[in-house]
């Protein structure tokens, strides 16, 4: 699937000096970061700082103006990019779940592997049922999204992404729309994934969670990475006043 000259020793996702504007508004002003295989990174920062835009560039939902994003050696900033090939390797979960409302939970999970990857339906179903079990939703296979709580829907969305066997998962504030009671069940599912060795890039406001699962935390503000570090030092030794202010508000 990946480019021939990419090896697992190199960063799985490599972001170099990425710039992105929406019209006059420059949202990303030179962002650089690496994510190694099996690594979990969290991106935090105030609203409007460009977090969503950044991770949406990784699977080419947004295009970038300059710089480079490589996923397993595939250059995303390339007009001839095979987007479908890229997206088969990159899973994404959204704040609003975005499940397909006309399909049951199980069908939501099964559809892409069958239709996109052309895998055998019975094989896919077996795997889908395992994934449903993994996100703790046994018994909900035949429920429609409208019949599930936000937390349940989000876990179906995670299973749906995992069914494609991606190499890296993107999470964009996946608990932000949830009731406080259901946030935990979703975080648990992500934590399970992370501990299983899945490469994860998370945009989140859950600081406790970031501290617990992240290998590296990036703080962004107005389109640049202001500060970053492992959680052990990031929370205690933040130097930049913007980071300090943000942390003092949120912790």
């Amino acid at each position: 699937m990946s480019n021939s000259d990419w090896t697992p020793e190199q960063p799985l996702v490599s972001i170099r000096d990425v710039h992105k504007s929406f019209g006059e508004l420059e949202v990303l002003k030179g962002v650089t970061l690496d994510v190694r295989q099996g690594e979990v990174i969290c991106i935090i920062g105030p609203s409007g700082s460009g977090k969503s835009t950044l991770i949406r560039c990784i699977n080419a939902l947004n295009t970038i103006d300059s710089g480079s994003i490589k996923v397993e050696g595939i250059e995303v900033n390339n007009p001839e990019l095979d987007k479908l090939k890229l997206r088969k390797n990159v899973g994404m979960v959204f704040q609003q779940y975005n499940l397909f409302p006309h399909k049951t939970a199980l069908e939501n999970v099964m559809m892409a592997p069958i239709k996109v990857l052309k895998q055998a339906p019975d094989e896919v179903e077996e795997r889908a049922r395992k994934l449903i079990k993994r996100v703790n939703l046994v018994g909900k296979e035949n429920s429609y999204p409208g019949e599930l709580s936000g937390g349940q829907q989000q876990r179906v969305a995670i299973a749906r992404s995992l069914a494609m066997n991606p190499d890296v998962m993107l999470f964009d504030e996946v608990t932000a729309a949830l009731d406080p009671e259901t946030v935990n069940e979703v975080l648990l599912a992500i934590k399970d994934l992370a501990q299983d060795g899945m490469t994860c890039i998370l945009v989140t406001h859950e600081m406790g969670f970031a501290r617990e699962v992240a290998d590296h935390i990036y703080f962004t503000d107005r389109g640049v990475i202001v500060e970053h570090g492992p959680p052990s030092t990031f929370f205690t030794e933040a130097k930049d006043p913007r980071t300090q202010e943000f942390l003092s508000q949120i912790l």
């Binding site: 479908l84 006309h102 494609m164």
Partner: protein
Amino acid sequence: MNAKPALTTTNTDLAVLKPFKFSPAGQVNDLLFSRWLAEFSPRSLFLIALILLAWPGFALAQSNYSFSQALDALWRWLPFIVGKGFVLNLVVSFMTMLVGTIAGVLLGLGQVSPARAIAAPSWFITQLFRNSPWLVLLFIVMLALPFEIQIGDHIYPIPDWLKAVFGLALPIMANISEIVRGAIISVPTGQWEAADSLAYSRNQTLWLVILPQCFKRMIPPWMNWYAILTMATPLISLLGVEEIVTLSRQAMEAEDNHPELLVPFFGFALIIFFAYCYPIARYTIRLEKKFAVRQ
């Protein structure tokens, strides 16, 4: 349940979803005609029928051609008017709907195409035929189409009613194109993005994710246009097609054109159109309510 994503997920680069600004989006729920028609209560119908039937009885009581003679004439001509005339109205309405729906769906899909070379002409054709007077379109088609076509050695005549079908199908096509476009862009962009992120191709997204979700939404406005179309079929009598109004006039002529015939014959035409379209309108409104609750 998916009301929120429409508001929050507008930050996308995907060209597909940008609605055209120049015409109001999502007129899918514009069921004015059906709503108007469906609001007749059965009692008011009865009253209208009564007035229609009784009025000439009073007004022309002294004339030598009595109202009951006129009714007798109507009764004699009924099989001809209905069996040949109204049936043709229905045939024309079915055929028009068939042609108009197929063309309209294609045109509507063209309107949401990411390729400007397809979207722009689709939009133009839609607006052109949506805003032209039906009768003008009918005359143009009538005069533009040949009255026969030659395929090999065979010469096939094109009957007038078939030309009328094409003429009426143009505005129907344009309105169905708008229904399809409106329904597609009413699906939250989050659905497109979710499908994109799962590596669906554009066509897969459209046919597996988007259209199944908005198919039901298209049915009530589609039926609304069917009722409007059916009510409009007498227009083609102006082109000499032998539908119910043309045949009613022929029948009245055969009965020496007594003015007393006018109200019973045309009153009957009104009633039969009403009787046919009223249940459709009621059903349209019911479906619309049902689908609205589900979403």
